[in-house]
């Protein structure tokens, strides 16, 4: 009796454990992975809803593609693994197109490009070289191009890794780190222009180097889907650029045109 019960219990556990949700290749439904912690591109408002340039853009893409989209929030360093594990179908999270990333996933065309820049307490005088920043603490977000760049270039500094850029800003404010490298617009609107950013400023030049910073931000996709879903995203992008919807969203958030220039 005990044995039968045991088998029944195990089967019941197995059945109740599967929450299945199949997906088709005609791309009527697309799950898009977003971060929600990188203003003004994507952030979470007090009402618990996602908002930001990329959120609006993602929804606009979907309308242009005629697809029903679900936005799935994920920590940034978990986005590519989630894509590969088929938890999401696309990544729209300020992910730059780089050769390193292309080894793992595919990208659509780029839909915005902004440079990277350092921020530090105002008045910090330093040569922006490996020797100049020796011993300083530089905060970067894990799995980003900024992290890769800093780790390769500023080997004499102490590099501190964060799960979100917000956490890096918190530590920059409290003085636990001396500098942080991130997207220029994200630093400007997410930190410098806010009350807590008082006393901080950009330091050093803007970085455009395509080797580390890529050719712009694209939609991350599985290699197998590049031909189908990727094509749909590219067409949607072109359509939005042509009918002025892109410009409308652009001007809502930025002072200049962030579309990648060739």
């Amino acid at each position: 009796m005990q044995r039968r019960f045991l088998i029944a219990l195990l089967t019941a556990s197995a059945i109740t454990s599967t929450a299945a949700n199949a997906q088709g290749p005609d791309w009527k439904k697309v799950r898009i992975g977003v971060e929600g912690a990188y203003p003004p591109f994507s952030e979470m408002g007090p009402d618990g809803k996602l908002k930001g340039f990329e959120i609006d853009l993602a929804l606009a893409f979907c309308t242009a593609m005629g697809a029903e989209c679900t936005l799935v929030q994920q920590e940034f360093d978990g986005l590519i693994p989630a894509l590969q594990a088929r938890k999401i179908d696309a990544i729209i999270a300020s992910m730059s197109i780089t050769d390193e990333r292309k080894k793992a996933i595919a990208f659509s065309d780029a839909y915005y490009k902004t440079p990277a820049r350092f921020a530090a307490r105002s008045g910090l005088q330093s040569e922006m070289t490996a020797a100049g920043l020796k011993g300083k603490k530089i905060g970067v977000q894990r799995a980003t191009i900024h992290e890769a760049f800093v780790m390769a270039t500023f080997k004499q500094s102490e590099i501190v890794h964060y799960a979100t850029q917000d956490q890096a800003f918190l530590d920059l404010k409290s003085g636990r780190i001396d500098l942080t490298l991130a997207d220029q617009v994200a630093i400007d609107q997410g930190f410098l222009k806010k009350p807590e950013g008082r006393g901080f400023a950009f330091i050093g030049p803007s970085y455009f180097d395509t080797k580390y910073f890529g050719v712009g931000t694209g939609v991350g996709l599985r290699k197998a889907d590049a031909a189908t879903l990727g094509k749909k995203f590219n067409e949607a992008m072109a359509a939005l650029r042509a009918n002025g919807k892109y410009k409308q969203l652009n001007d809502k958030y930025f002072e200049y045109d962030v579309w990648p220039k060739p």
């Binding site: 290749p25 799950r31 929600g36 978990g78 938890k87």
Partner: protein, 229 residues
């Protein structure tokens, strides 16, 4: 004071609570299965249960969560492909959280239930047999009701640890209380206020839980004499 984030926090609290309860249900099922496996006469059942409990006790929750969330998905996809299912099956973060936490605490509950089964005087089941009761009747009327009473303290302790562990699901992207607190803290740059609020809500959960379990223990122990201290 909370800059309008209170509704968001309360929504997160609701998610946390429902996640914890669902995970508890899974954990109880697995725990009962595991306890019976460990007490069974089949060697492979005992071995499997031993591997299960040893694995869980040997690896941190955080790591297991990361492993099951990604590894589990990969495994499920491979399984689906192997049976010719072209489209892939997806486990949403909520289900992943419930399964992971349920899986982890199933191991701890296995030990709690096993101890509870062993605490029963064997004479009672024997008396039932002598009276001509069928095995199912013995289980339903004699063994299991008493087993639950013995299991209650272990169950209570594990529930308390479980509900605190749910804080880790924020790592796999589930929008629970901890995640909402983190987002609010990040947006308003006032971490102290929000993490304090989150801590108070968790404290509320654990306090209420302890009260409920104390009541349950009283009710299930009617008629049981305890040594006078």
């Amino acid at each position: 004071m909370l800059h309008g984030f209170l509704p968001s926090l309360l929504e997160g609290a609701a998610v946390t609570l429902s996640l914890a309860l669902a995970a508890l249900a899974v954990a109880i099922l697995l725990g009962l299965a595991g306890a019976m496996a460990k007490l069974s006469s089949w060697r492979w059942a005992r071995g499997l249960a031993l591997i299960y409990t040893t694995l869980i006790r040997g690896v941190p929750d955080l790591l297991l969560m990361l492993l099951i969330f990604y590894g589990g998905q990969v495994g499920l996809n491979a399984l689906a492909l192997s049976v010719g299912h072209e489209d892939y099956i997806d486990i949403n973060p909520y289900a992943a959280g419930v399964l992971t936490i349920g899986f982890i605490f199933g191991a701890y509950l296995t030990e709690a239930f096993r101890g509870a089964f062993l605490a029963l005087p064997p004479g009672q089941a024997e008396a039932g047999l002598a009276l001509g009761m069928s095995p199912r009747q013995i289980a339903w009327r004699i063994t299991w009701p008493q087993m639950f009473r013995h299991a209650l303290p272990g169950l209570a302790n594990n529930w308390l640890v479980l509900i605190k562990s749910t804080a880790i699901v924020s790592v796999i992207g589930l929008s629970d209380l901890m995640t909402r607190g983190q987002q609010a803290a990040g947006t308003t740059r006032e971490p102290f206020v929000f993490y304090l609020a989150v801590a108070l809500i968790y404290l509320g959960f654990t306090s209420v839980s302890e009260l409920i379990f104390a009541q349950l223990q009283k009710r299930l122990s009617t008629g049981v004499s305890q040594g006078r201290l």
